[in-house]
């Protein structure tokens, strides 16, 4: 396992170390595939799009600014590729994905979410319940939650990926949390 961070691997690849690209692909293929799958909803198309994304990463790797986070860059590419695919293949789904709903924008300061009840973590079927609950969310809500909690990206980094303001991402995150709590049967915060 290579200990180098992504940005170092990018520099190594640009300097001629071919294996560095392989390490980067191996490191990110699973989260990228999972991310794309959430948008397109089937394995075959998610596979094709994932391959296209990595080809695009390879093509543009010399344009990547190594002072920025590689993960943010590739998720932005993945998001655009997924939306482009939806736009071409399923225009109706595309409008559903990009539609935010009529919920109002939150203020700049958003309070922390209420804690989750301890009993939730004791549920035997938590994994399945969570998977199903996330699946019921709008893909943009799924993206906000997965990127923040699973990929450990900050709101600022997610905002960069989504090409939106940090506040929009924060408010979407809070709405996603509220919906998730409802689906999981946990009371929404007051």
């Amino acid at each position: 396992m290579d200990e180098r961070i992504d940005e170092e691997l990018v520099t190594a690849y640009i300097n001629g170390e071919n294996r560095a690209l392989e390490i980067l692909v191996r490191r990110h293929i699973k989260p990228i595939f999972g991310f794309v799958f959430r948008y397109v909803g089937n394995v075959g198309d998610a596979e094709d799009i994932t391959q296209d994304i990595f080809v695009s990463i390879w093509k543009n790797i010399d344009k990547f600014d190594t002072s920025k986070k590689f993960k943010t860059w590739i998720f932005a590419i993945a998001k655009n590729a997924s939306l482009n695919w939806l736009r071409k293949k399923k225009p109706s789904t595309f409008s559903d994905v990009t539609k935010e709903g009529d919920e109002q924008q939150f203020d700049e300061t958003i309070e922390d979410e209420n804690p989750l009840p301890a009993e939730l973590f004791d549920r035997a079927s938590l994994k399945e319940e969570l998977e199903s609950a996330i699946g019921k969310l709008n893909p943009r809500y799924q993206t906000a939650l997965i990127l923040h909690y699973k990929e450990e990206l900050t709101f600022r980094e997610i905002a960069e990926i989504e090409n939106e303001s940090v506040n929009t991402v924060k408010s979407r995150h809070l709405r996603a949390i509220n919906k998730l709590r409802k689906i999981l049967g946990v009371d929404a915060p007051k």
Partner: protein
């Protein structure tokens, strides 16, 4: 980041990609690399071939002018008009013939013809390879 939600998402596993996805992705990237290299070679040999063809006419003209001025053609015509003398003094004749040949122009002409032929052959080979790879891709 809220600790509770971080803990909750520890239970969340993204969808597993198919086993061969990494391998297929690397193959796609390699294929793309090869195609980019082919395009670069096609560009290079295309330009070389066209340049060689363009310079061929002035080089041929230069060679022809030097050939007629150097007396090479008059000397070589002796082969047909005075074959007996040439057979007697063949060593001197060959030396004179070689001396009268415009060497630089001849090298230039042969060089540009070779350059044209070789680059055209490489150009055709790469275009064929690219066409084949396009057919495979479709």
């Amino acid at each position: 980041m809220h600790k509770d939600y971080q803990k909750l998402f520890e239970s969340f596993e993204p969808v597993e990609p198919p086993e061969q996805l990494f391998h297929d992705t690397m193959l796609r990237i390699d294929a793309k690399k090869r195609r980019v290299a082919m395009y670069a070679r096609i560009g290079f040999f295309g330009v070389t071939s066209a340049t060689a063809l363009l310079v061929l006419a002035p080089i041929w003209n230069g060679f022809y002018v030097e050939l007629t001025q150097s007396g090479f053609s008059q000397l070589s015509s002796l082969i047909f008009s005075d074959g007996g003398t040439i057979m007697t003094y063949w060593q001197d004749f060959i030396l004179s013939l070689a001396e009268s040949l415009p060497i630089l122009s001849a090298i230039g002409l042969v060089g540009s013809v070779l350059l044209f032929l070789v680059s055209t052959e490489r150009l055709i080979r790469n275009v064929r390879a690219l066409t084949r790879s396009n057919l495979v891709a479709f």
